[in-house]
Symmetry: C4
Subunit: 271 residues, 4 copies
């Protein structure tokens, strides 16, 4: 968020001449020249491995991070499985879902999930999309995913469900992929101000203002889904009240470095 | 599929003199002389390990591949657990389920699942049979396994269930094994043009035009079964529409090398 | 079963002078002097590790094997967790549950499960007792565990449930342990000619004519329990018919060396 | 429990002059000077790793032990994930939840769970708090967790449920954390003479007279929760009678070193 306070005419002028050159820099060059890009990309690679190890992603799924040097682009791996992502696999993509830097490698067909959400909400800087098994039954049965406990308090009054048929054109029958800017914008609209959305017959998307928080939310939303499914079989369930969710979220999300340290250690030990 | 276009009299003549000599070659000789056989067998061994690691097979179960040099035979391991299969364990079997090359080692008693399906459908080149826990409840309760999400779109309008009692002779009571050509043909008939069949009180069979796709389908059918079972407990379930399944299948099955890379890396790291 | 055919007066005479000396031999001495004891004990240690790795036992539970040199005694570990059992931990116990060879180390309090079953049925040579989670709900709800598939065909018409209150004296309230010869005899009686019995509020016992088959049965009964529980939630379940169970059992139990090889390799690789 | 019998005037006098100096000793100094502190802290670190490995804790949760040299303080890790706790992470805390020895590192916000329970019950010397998934559905649906089998006999007539709304002031809406002495005292009151309490929308707390027994109870309560949830779906469940629970608890809790040995070996092998 280097640019956040540069709102004067002067800074806008600087931006105008600086942006094109930044866009001209390869991901590797940005990694070497900007320390905040280096930090973000190292964390992005690690987050890919953590999300697989913790069961929030499997052989598919992806995580993105907004470019800290340029809010109009984001970084995301080329089309490989999350657990094998390396620094060299990272692409830079713009808010229309276009891969930049003349990079010809195959991109995820669903990068529009990321461009859609990042474009719609400037406070969001990281997006995750996956197919974790526990989340699927909610989407296909129209059941609202709600916060069972403080760990997933960010679910608030419950996650909305994205029905791709409501946005697909010309036919409502699709390959279920958010594969163009319009579908990405539709998904972002359904997600609204929340940070989690279920995708019917497909999976979920999670978001946050930084990578660690997005990872935390994806992992605990997946766990919440398993627990809620069991609770619903057992009887009438008391979810967090809206007020409890709001207060809990503030407390618990101050502590996310605690599991992050453990999750990082686990994947490092697997090397 | 070397022989696919050789339909002229000349090629038939070549076949007639070439087949016996090919049949006379041991699996090892074919591996050394035909690069496409080498590729297929290396992948077959790896697929055995992957299917175990991903929970689609356990101490039992098997995968076959049609001989790329001779569509009338296929390769499959001798009777050992999938996770310990080595190149040296591979047998060559004909479409009647007869082990070739004078190989006296014990073959899987259920190789007729493979000969039955490969014989009935010339576009299928790889078959998998296993007992994964999540698939069993469907077969024994007569519940149709349907595509919950795009990953298992190939399930289409739902997998048929093979009831061995309908094909067993003289008595409908059997050891539940597809242990002769007639039962293999019956299973293939129930499977029809689909690529997945549940076997009541036994397990499942999956098929595809190549090893990687068959592996992909087995793994995601097993996961679909778990997810569908949970969804059915939660409420009325929206499966992929037939049209969604058809379109999704085309898209997702172009990407199967992505998880394959990860799955391969996992089993290689376990060595 | 060295002694099986020795029924002449001469052999009886030999037995009379040989037995005491055999009983006088320590487990270690028998291991060194009798090759069939060596084989049995090596397999017993391995079986302990396999049963833990495959989830049929946890930090508790045990497996025994009848002494191949003396049908009136059996071998079982001293009171340690199955996964850490070493050769040196093996005790010899008689059919009354008495530890032999003047061995003062702590024995399992539930060795009477083993003595009870081995004593009641001379064709049984190995017994397993554990608390695997999937088996518990059946015992506490009075639900019959039945064969879902050929792998657990040995369950036949269903496993009986041992209610310790029916056998405990003077009060029906106990510590739930089969901790004396009477309770062991009661358990064996409920088990009858079957090879699996559920113990209400406690766990299960499995048996077979040899270690490998007992291990096979324990592992697949535990899996059958999970699958059956899911099937019962899904709808009316078709179990194996009695005839199917009988025929399947004969076929599948000829193949138990196949998973045994894999299970052994797994625990060896963990060393 | 060095001080247990020191009830004479003399010992009280000794205490008065000894306590301040003990309190003045850093955790490290106490570790080096008092062998019972060394034993307790080594076991505390190991217990943290075991609880994670056995699924009773995840990236969150904690275990405490009363100071064997001073019953008015206890030891607990600073705010890090259980699986990465090292000796150097241990803090000393008093019965008001105040961190001693001028240690400025971040403490767990929920240390009041520990101070509350340890303060209310002088026979309790170790407390565990976690969020294990299987326990959550009970708390949020008001379902009583009861002993399914002898392993969790300590659950007795069933675990009470702590509703934080009943104790929170001024508003019943909180962040769900037991974050002050009053809430800790409330939790201890609900727990009463039992050794397990469910916390609605949060997790559980377990206690015992020593670390190993607390670990044993947490692990088997978590397993009991899974088993009971399955049993309740299957039919009317026979729990241990109160008398059975009482007798079973006495027997089984004499054997807790058996799984402890295995659990220790597992985490040591992961190093």
């Amino acid at each position: 968020m280097l640019l956040k306070s540069k709102t004067s005419i002067t800074s806008l002028f600087i931006l105008l001449i600086w942006f094109p050159s930044a866009a001209a820099l390869s991901v590797k060059d940005q990694y070497q020249q900007y320390s905040e890009v280096k930090t973000a990309l190292d964390e992005l690679v690690l987050a890919n491995h953590i999300l697989y190890d913790q069961g929030a992603l499997d052989g598919y799924g992806h995580i993105s991070v907004r470019n800290p040097s340029n809010p109009q682009t984001f970084f995301i791996a080329r089309s490989v499985a999350p657990s094998v992502v390396k620094l060299d696999d990272i692409l830079e993509v713009d808010m229309g879902g276009k891969v930049l830097n003349d990079d010809k490698r195959t991109a995820y067909g669903e990068r529009f999930i990321h461009s859609g959400i990042l474009n719609a909400n400037p406070t969001i800087n990281s997006v995750i999309h996956g197919h974790a098994a526990s989340t699927l039954p909610f989407g296909v049965t129209g059941t609202t995913l709600k916060p069972i406990y403080h760990m997933s308090a960010f679910l608030g009054e419950g996650a909305p469900i994205f029905e791709i048929r409501d946005f697909a054109k010309p036919s409502p029958d699709t390959d279920m992929f958010v594969s163009n800017p319009d579908l990405g914008a539709g998904l972002a609209k359904v997600m609204g101000n929340g940070n989690f959305v279920l995708m019917r017959g497909h999976g979920y998307a999670a978001s946050a203002e930084n990578i660690r928080k997005a990872v935390f939310r994806a992992i605990y939303a997946v766990q919440n889904a398993s627990i809620q499914a069991e609770a619903m079989k057992m009887g009438k369930t008391q979810y967090l009240t809206l007020k409890e969710a709001e207060i809990s979220k503030a407390t618990i999300e101050k502590t996310i470095n605690r599991p992050w340290e453990l999750w990082s250690e686990r994947v490092r030990n697997q090397k």
